[in-house]
Structure formats: structure tokens, C-alpha cells
Assembly symmetry: C2
Homo-oligomer: 230 residues x 2
């Protein structure tokens, strides 16, 4: 069985866990701390990012971009109805545009800010960048998330799923980032009903259940985090 | 003929221009200013990023991740020898890992810092974020680039090209970022001879020629920028 090195509140790791769930794939999960990766993992992925997938034959696939495309290429027949990227090149271009929206723009403006300040600073030692959170970064993340909820709401009002007619990696990327921030209690769900309605649908999927059971020691999530009726 | 909306010193736009050159594809180039994108372009790509490709049938493909995969999918037969991603899933995973290295890590640590401070701040109006460069950001970019040159050198010493035996999007992504910084005169080439040797080979390719002719008005590149013997 392949092994997935991940961190529960890493949005990129979460997208791959959701992908595994949606494709009915099993993997052994190895939890790592992003601020304190072991030397063996840094050798497998010198960028020091999660997730990293290791196949039974020891082949290493490092980083969310590589792992997500690799799972599609190796676990699904070409053109499969179950593709999380889409069936045509134009559908896939739209899904990849939206995945970049969340993995690049949302990450830079919201999830990186909030996760680094609230998680890494808290659990990392002083020599690993630990310390008091930067309040300006927290404020910036909490402000920017509102525009992203509006964009998700706008997409959800005109399409069945964010990328089009079918659930795709765009939904999984968006939900992976938002669910990390939801664990911190920082998603203002009342700000956009359409975005919330879309998230209720993703959160109800069986692939989401393991994420709702995640617990960071010493930092339990708010009650609404695992609640399907929040 | 498709149209590519780009900016000469945008590393993501540059990678697509190199990709078009390597695949012998023509496109009409439309130059845009990242700090002042017209409303029509923001409608095509609400993330406000370049490049954006528009097909003759008006289909819009937005963002480097979407455009690069789309060109492979639509312009090359499956499994083509000319693929810039690689022939097997494992080869492609390695190329995508390295593309993310440059588009995410190098961008955050080096090219975003230097390009925003030296280009956007200079040419953007005060209401678009213009003003004096942040010297700490410039210093950080100039420091971090050395570790990246060492990583490129290390790959170049053990492989023919960065991603393996063949030229790939990994080389194009690395060269796209580095060439922007080279235009600014901020690549310390003497710091790593192997990295420089690899760059000489990429820079000599016909696909690179249009990039070496780029000129930003009021900000000519240093002499060595276009020189193949630098």
C-alpha cells in the first residue's frame, strides 16, 4: 500500500487525502510536522513541502501538483468518468485555473498567513520560527477570506460544482484550504450563503469524514468544525 | 492564431513563450502590465495573473498551470517524444515537482520579491502599489537566489537536463524565472559554474531568442543579459 506523508492542517495534504477518498484509494498515512521534517523526508522532497507519496516500489512523488496529476494518470483509465480534472482539455484548463486560484492566491492571501501564524508559530521551537503570532498577518488573512467566499459563492450560483458540472479537484482544493481555516474557527460562513451551501455539500461527502476527525494535540477545533449542520 | 496575453518580465508568461517556441507553435503576443490589467482581461482571468491564452474560437485558458498542460494536451499526440512533461507518470511527477520548485518556492523567495520591488513599484502608480522599493525584500531575494543556483547546479551535475534525460518544463520554468532576474542584473552567475553551464545551454536554444530581445521601456537590461558568452 502506498504511504502518504502529510500534516492534518496542511491544505495540500488535505487535497490529496480527499482525492484518495474520492478515487476509493487506500494509503497508509504518516503524520509529519511541516516545521520539523525529518532528514529522510527532506531527502525525498528537498523543497520541504507536504504531501509526499511513496509507492510500494519506493518511487517518490513529491508535492501536491505532482501527486494529484500522478494519481489521475496511474489510478484511472484515460478519459475516465471519475476524473477529478475533467474530461476535455477545456474542462481540465478550468479546473487547473481554479486549483491555482486556491493553491496560489488563496494560500498566499489567507491560508498561509493564518496557518503559519496560528500553527507553526505556536508549535515550532524558537529556532524553527516559533513565537508570537504576527497580528497584521492574521488580520490580513481574515480580511481577504471574505472576497474568496464571495468568489466561491458566485461560482456556486452559476455551476453545479466550482469547476463545472462535476465534482473536481477545484472543489477539493477549495475545501482543503477552507477546512483548515475552519479548524481555526476563522471562516465567516454567514458572509456568503451560496459559498456555505457549496461547502455543506462537499463536507457531507464520505471522502471528507477522515478530515473532520482530525485533532491537533492541545488545539481542539471549534464545535462547528465537524458539524454537518453548522 | 491563438493570442497570448503576457508581460515580458513575468516568469510565468516567459515559460509559456518558451513552451510555444519548443513546440513550434505560433501565437500573437499581446503585452500587458501586471499592475494595470484591463477590465477585459480581469474578466477572462479574475485572479489577475498572466499568462492568458485565447483560442481562435475564443476559449480562454488562464494561468501558467492551465496553459502549459493544455498546450501538451491539445498540440501534441499522447505519449509524444516532444512532450515537455515527460513520457511516463514517474518522469512527469519529477518534472511537476521541479516546476513547483520554481513557480512556488523560487517565486516566493526570489523572483516575486525582486520583480515586485524593482518593476511593479517603479512603473505602477501610487494607487496601484507603486513607490520606493523595499530594501529588505531586495536583500532577501538576492540572498535566497544563491541556494537555488546551488540546487540547479547539483541537478545539472547528475542529469542531462534538470528533470532527467530530456529538456522539460522544469528547465523552462527555471530558465523563465532566472532570465527575469538576469534582466535585472541580479543573478550571481559566478557562484555556481554548473548552474551557469546549464543556463548557457538553455539560453542558446532558438526558443530563447525572443526573450533575449525583450526590452522594458526606460529600463534596458545589462549587456550580459542577451550575451550567450557571459
Amino acid at each position: 500500500m502506498p504511504r502518504l506523508f502529510h500534516f492534518p492542517l496542511c491544505p495540500f495534504s488535505r487535497r490529496i487525502r480527499l482525492t484518495l477518498g474520492e478515487l476509493d484509494l487506500d494509503a497508509e498515512l504518516n503524520e509529519e510536522q511541516p516545521w520539523n521534517l525529518p532528514a529522510g523526508l527532506l531527502k525525498m522532497n528537498p523543497a520541504g513541502t507536504l504531501p509526499v507519496l511513496v509507492e510500494d516500489n519506493r518511487a517518490v512523488i513529491a508535492g501536491v501538483e505532482a501527486v494529484s496529476e500522478y494519481l489521475e494518470e496511474t489510478r484511472l483509465p484515460a478519459g475516465s468518468e471519475r476524473s477529478l480534472l475533467g474530461k476535455t482539455p477545456i474542462e481540465r484548463a478550468e479546473v487547473r485555473r481554479l486549483v491555482a486560484w486556491f493553491d496560489v492566491k488563496f494560500h498566499r492571501e489567507v491560508s498561509r498567513q493564518l496557518l503559519i501564524e496560528k500553527i507553526d508559530r505556536r508549535f515550532a521551537g524558537p529556532e524553527q520560527g516559533g513565537g508570537a503570532p504576527n497580528m497584521a498577518a492574521l488580520r490580513a488573512g481574515r480580511t481577504h477570506i471574505r472576497a474568496h467566499l464571495d468568489y466561491i459563492g458566485q461560482l456556486a450560483e452559476t455551476r453545479r460544482w466550482l469547476g463545472g458540472d462535476n465534482l473536481s479537484s477545484a472543489d477539493l482544493a477549495a475545501a482543503a484550504h477552507l477546512s483548515c481555516i475552519d479548524y481555526l474557527g476563522d471562516v465567516p460562513w454567514s458572509a456568503n450563503a451560496s459559498a456555505k451551501g457549496w461547502y455543506v455539500r462537499v463536507k457531507s461527502r464520505p471522502s471528507f469524514r477522515p478530515l473532520l476527525a482530525d485533532q491537533i494535540r492541545g488545539m481542539p477545533p471549534p464545535r462547528i468544525y465537524a458539524d454537518l449542520d453548522f
